[in-house]
Subunit: 405 residues, 5 copies
């Protein structure tokens, strides 16, 4: 608002001081001065609603929309690949970090249960591992694909599942995903991760170290259940953080003074799309484990997969609720903005309207007719000013009575 | 509106009285005075639509969005646990309040039907009870979880179900939920409640005391049906109270003068989310009892579970109707607000427009040309004023004819 | 509009006549006079859009939202109960009005087909009838319930169905419902109605009197089909009347001058909720008859129930069409209101804008500079007035060329 | 716009010429004159958006909403009934137009395939035909019903189907429907049409005349397939014409100057309801032929019914696409209207705002203070006028810089 | 904006210079001059929002809406038809371009696997090929149809499928489709394409040339899988390009200065309709291969069809995500436009409102009463001007305090 103030000031400065120069140069001087000021002031003021260019993450949209299951292998080869093996039974545990991919081949028939976790994907490595463990070439393709839809694939001697681990990036407020492929074969679980630096399995690693833990007592399918369970449970952590973000944005809506709210809401809707794209196929995936009659799955572990299934359904329903909340937040926000704007316009219109009669009265007695009544009366001016005052007051009282305030 | 009035008053005071001081100090004095007044008046006036900060329960959103089935046990241990046992057959009833959790172990094979109700959840207690009654460890986890989705779990020797009792808090207008877990085993029903202070089973307790009551004649599954039935029937009481709230908000909409209506509607939509999240899984749950072939359920009680099933379907459909009503309420409200605003703007625009010709006429005869006709005529002023009067009247009649009022 | 006219009149009366009193009292007099006028005029004018308080049937919402299947028996006992019995075979018909409920017990095994119709529900009566005819106590509860969802219940020796007869109240434009319970047992049909004064079975009663009619030739299940058929057929009569109401409201929309249209549309949407709540469960109900393998239903009557099924599906689809029509009606209405308002605002803005240059010209030549050109020219005034005239005309032609009219 | 021009003209005529009469009579004269003009001009101008009364076909709504399967036989008896019979085998064809309905009874067991086509429905005729060909009385009722939902009914010795032929009326842009009932019995196909004057079977009649055509080689079920196929194929012609209409309306939207666009869009949505009401049940109907195990249908003709099935599914999906297109057309239209209106309002507001400073400057130097600076300066007037010119230019440049144009 | 500037300039030129001519001719001169200017300036300025006539591709709508499965064979005969044959087994490959259609008949029982690809459809050719390979006449009709829905048809000796290859036209931003029909018979795959100039099979042709490639080792069904796989994989390329287009439009939305954004969004929604129309039936089609028990399909290739099935599901889900993104983009755009417009209107209203008190003060002291206080005071003018300055500043500070900026 300052700039209009400055404009007012400058406008009268013309009338009061500069006019003595009787030249147009004064105009140049004052247009220079405040305009420079305006340039500095602008972004924080009127235009705050108008220029969300940099705020709006079109790059994020591209990420969300990209999907390219088989055709063009954009995937960059991982620079370093880490292989870690947990080979255990209820009595003993061997934990190894491997230098090369080939060293894990020995665990094919170790007589114990083995978990081979491969961080970082390199085409050659994946192919050699899969060849060694008799995995179908189509699955190799799936492991190496990008933005693949979560899926389950059951073969005679193994079960393959591919899904995404989700992380919540608190800096960008985005839900990030990392593809993980899990192969359950006889006494072996092989997991492939894209990123060597993070996963959600640390508590499982701890439990494996304890001989008393259930996972040590049971076979490879229970291990596989554990991996799925930890991935799905981590979805709830992601949702909780997203829930916190929703709460923040809702507070922005209720404070009502942040012009970026709508952009934030749009962003939240995009993140929900990421969740939705994962939850529904993961539900099918876990259901696939439940319906499977593979010999690799013990009957008594059915219950555990049922438990994961219940959780993923709950996650899916919860994300629907998130959606509802966000939509009604958006409705509320748009209405608040409109009400605020309307209120301002209404007051402006009323003030302008109230001052109009005074202008008319001023015009009447400013006419140059020779015979205007009361012009010569000593109370004429007072009467006119009182009329100028009384008419708006009366109009106000009428407006008030009609509930226009 | 008063403050604009004050502004008008102050504005003329400048012209009439303060001007004699011929200094700018008078301006300071009146800007101080009314602004203080304004500060006091503001919240009740123009800004009433603009600042719903405190009204908007973002905390409520957080509650609704939270869900955390297994991972982090936020759950606080209950400080005191109450165990009450009803051990009965058609002839006799033993009702006991227990001091410790272990005392209820005796009722495992009492030869009569036992209802063990445990108010307040403590991890150790739940685990020891479940161990004693051969309940699977995953179920212990479910019982201790927070914001779990209603679910049914059938094992060889027991049926476990978890659902929420709903209460309507008339102070906050929120639907509150309390998780209840029910285990039906051979001749025993064990129920776990979070909150020791309220439940919905009092009328059942009364009926248990009467030897003639049907529940005394029948076994544990009929008791279990009774618990479910009372929980589901209480949903209708909650919905009735929510229905009353909808009616209140609808009256606010129709009175049309409450700026918080939209916030209230948004709040109602949130509460409906709570209902929806409960009804649909409870329907599945009851259907699970219907489809169950467990030996724990007598064939002849099928009919009763079918009855509960009908009720929960009715509740679900009714909540859909609530949703429809609320949505069309919101439409109506937004339209009423817009109509009201438009009406005010229209009248202001028309009044401003009607006074404009008078200003022009005033301007014409206020010009300082030496040769203006009628200036010297004694009827000139009268003619001009009449023109100022007649033109707006004519404009009005045109507007009127076009239906603009 | 009259009051603004009055305001204009009063406003100039101040300038012309009252000013001679030179006091503020005149203001009081004219604020009193027109304000009284305003009070009388107001409701028919500006505020017509603003105050739909009394129009908006919140009571209707409450009725639609209420549902209370078992818990609290709000139901008032009927003051008088009418029992009518039609006992017939193809040869003979006995029609009786009973004084007491017990008299109908004789028809349990009359050897002929009996239709016992009980108008008015009294707890004791229903219980005694049901006990006599071996009806399950849960069904007694259903019969006595209020706002129950239509349902079918099949037992060994009888089939119970509960549904609503719908009536269209042309005064309130509301769809009213009356609960009817029908029990089909061996050779007996018992029907319970809430209201003694109206039902939809009169044409059936006529047909029963004719020995040649099909219903006389056939058994109790055919009678039961007839009852269902007449109830469902009456739905179409209700829908036709609702369709007429939609047509009326649509005409209001197209005439575009009724501020209550939106309220009427909202009301129609509520009535559709009533239809929807009945049609979908009745479809299930009739489907239950189709799928039933009860010995009470003859194979050859399957076709008839299929026919009712087709009708109820058609009714359900039709009500969806009604919904679509109403929604697009609402869209059209809101748009018409906005267009009308915008058009008025546009004309006002244009007129105000057109008069602004004249004000400026008046201002220029009204300045008191000593050296203003043309002031002393005899054509100066004429030129200024012509400029005041020509500039708006030119602006108009520009606006016109741009298609702003 | 002309009338505002006239108003401007008249307004100045008062000031310039009529004022010499010094009476109010002149006002009467000019209010009479232009108002008459206005009356003639009005409908083509401002009010063009406001009064779509006659455009809006509420009658069409009534037609679409009507449905009356059995109850009240509104159906008028056909005044004349035409019966045409095609009795053929691969060798010979007999084509006859009958005078009376009874003459077709001979074709019940003609040893050849017979197609009896009855144009015009008379209750007595339908009943006697159906009695002769052993059709169930409920089917007679269906044939005579109005606005029946398409349905299939399979009996031991015949298959009955009822559907609508659709026609596109290019005058009213409405989709019209004519009910057709087809009965397939052993070696006989009987078709009942409402309207004697049009059907879609002419190309079939041509093909029947050619002994080489497939329909002559095959039996009654193939004939029945041909009837269905031609009806469904004609749906695509109707849709194509409706598609042309959508294209026309879309062009109106893009030209943006037709106030009836919204009415046209609403009308299109109504016609889509007619399509939707037909397509979905016809799909079920054809599916019924596919699933039927009736001896009347040859196995090898299954493929043909599958083909019809594919077409009706495509029609249903296409009508969904139509709906999507129409909805986004409506969005676009409403936005265009709003943008256009906002643009006009914005320009008006800017022009009014730009002229306001000039008014203020005129006011300042029009004050009657004795000591106003520069009043006596010869450049005073020039300076003021330059200020009046420079300030709006500067404001413009500021507005421009902020992107408000 | 320039033209209003010109209007301002011209307006004062009248006052300053032309008036000396004292005639109305000057008006003609200046109306001519700027109007010519306006004509040139207009399209780039105010009307930019208003006239999207040429932008809006109604022709595209027509293309999308057209569908005409059997009835009228619009299809033009191809002018030239290219037949290419790949006849191969694991040892040898014969690749031939044929001059005439009959030359390919020799490959019916070549003992090797043959792929006959026919580019360009001519009725006679298709019929003769189909007759030779025992294809059902209905399939001939399907191959020749236009805008057919993707479908699968399984006969005893062959499997027929029809689907569309999609291409993204980067010039028109439209998704183009080319119908392809594939017939899988014993050891032969016949494919019919509409357009001789493009297809998506080039990489397959390369692979066929390599004896080591899997496709050379396997039979006709594997070849058929390859064709389907490449078509479906190409859908992702189309979607990626459409995704890029969405990103572009989203950037337009965020830059906020392109009036055609809404048209672009509408266009995107139309292209999504094309995708949706293809994906859902192709999913059914591939599922048909999965469920087929035809002897033409080897069991071990099931996995490959499952892979295609997964891809088409992913494509379908992705297109749903596209839809969501586009819808929220549209919401954001409309809101940005409204906010921008409201902001401008608000500033205009505030400026107009702030200048109103100055006009009133000017009017007060411009009245011609003899007795106006301070008129003769030397500080009167200064005081009035200061009041004109101070009141708007004070109003500004009040507006500011209320958060109206």
């Amino acid at each position: 608002m300052l700039d209009i103030f400055i404009f007012m000031a400058a406008y009268f400065r013309v009338g009061l001081t500069c006019c003595s120069t009787r030249s147009l140069l004064c105009c140049n001087s004052f247009t220079n001065f405040p305009v420079m000021n305006l340039d500095k002031l602008r972004p924080d003021k009127y235009l705050k609603y108008l220029n969300p260019t940099n705020l709006f993450a079109t790059k994020r949209t591209k990420e969300i929309l990209s999907a390219n299951p088989t055709i063009i292998p954009h995937r960059e080869e991982a620079t370093d690949v880490t292989v870690s093996v947990y080979d255990y039974d209820s009595n003993s545990l061997e934990e190894r970090k491997m230098s090369g991919i080939n060293d894990c081949f020995a665990y094919k028939n170790s007589g114990r249960t083995s978990w081979i976790n491969i961080d970082g994907l390199r085409k050659k490595d994946v192919e050699s591992v899969c060849a060694h463990f008799d995995i179908h070439p189509l699955i190799v393709e799936d492991i190496l694909s990008l933005n693949q839809r979560p899926k389950l694939d059951e073969a005679d001697n193994n079960i393959f599942c591919l899904l995404n681990m989700l992380y919540y990036n608190e800096t960008t407020n985005a839900v990030e995903q990392e593809q993980i492929s899990i192969i359950l074969a006889k006494d072996v679980v092989i997991s492939f991760q894209e990123d060597a630096h993070r996963d959600v399995f640390n508590s499982l690693r701890e439990r494996l170290k304890s001989p008393a833990s259930k996972v040590r007592q049971r076979g490879a399918d229970y291990l596989c259940y554990n991996l799925l369970d930890m991935i799905v449970d981590h979805y709830f952590i992601v949702m909780e953080k997203l829930g916190n973000r929703i709460e923040e944005v809702e507070e922005e809506v209720s404070r009502g003074n942040n012009p970026r709210v709508l952009t934030h809401i749009t962003q939240l809707r995009k993140e929900l799309i990421v969740l939705k794209r994962n939850f529904s196929p993961v539900r099918e995936l876990v259901n696939g484990f439940l319906r499977s009659e593979s010999g690799l799955l013990e009957e008594r572990h059915q219950k555990y997969f049922k438990d994961v299934y219940d959780h993923i359904i709950q996650a899916a329903e919860l994300s629907e609720n998130y959606r509802d909340i966000i939509v009604s937040m958006q409705d509320l926000h748009i209405n608040n903005v409109n009400l605020r704007m309307n209120e301002v316009m209404k007051v402006m219109a009323i003030v302008t309207c109230l001052l109009a009669p005074a202008t008319v009265i001023g015009g009447i007695f400013g006419m140059n007719f020779v015979a205007i009544p009361w012009l010569h009366s000593p109370y004429g001016f007072l009467g006119a000013v009182i009329a100028m005052l009384v008419i708006p007051i009366w109009m106000l009282s009428v407006f008030k009575k009609r509930g226009w305030f």
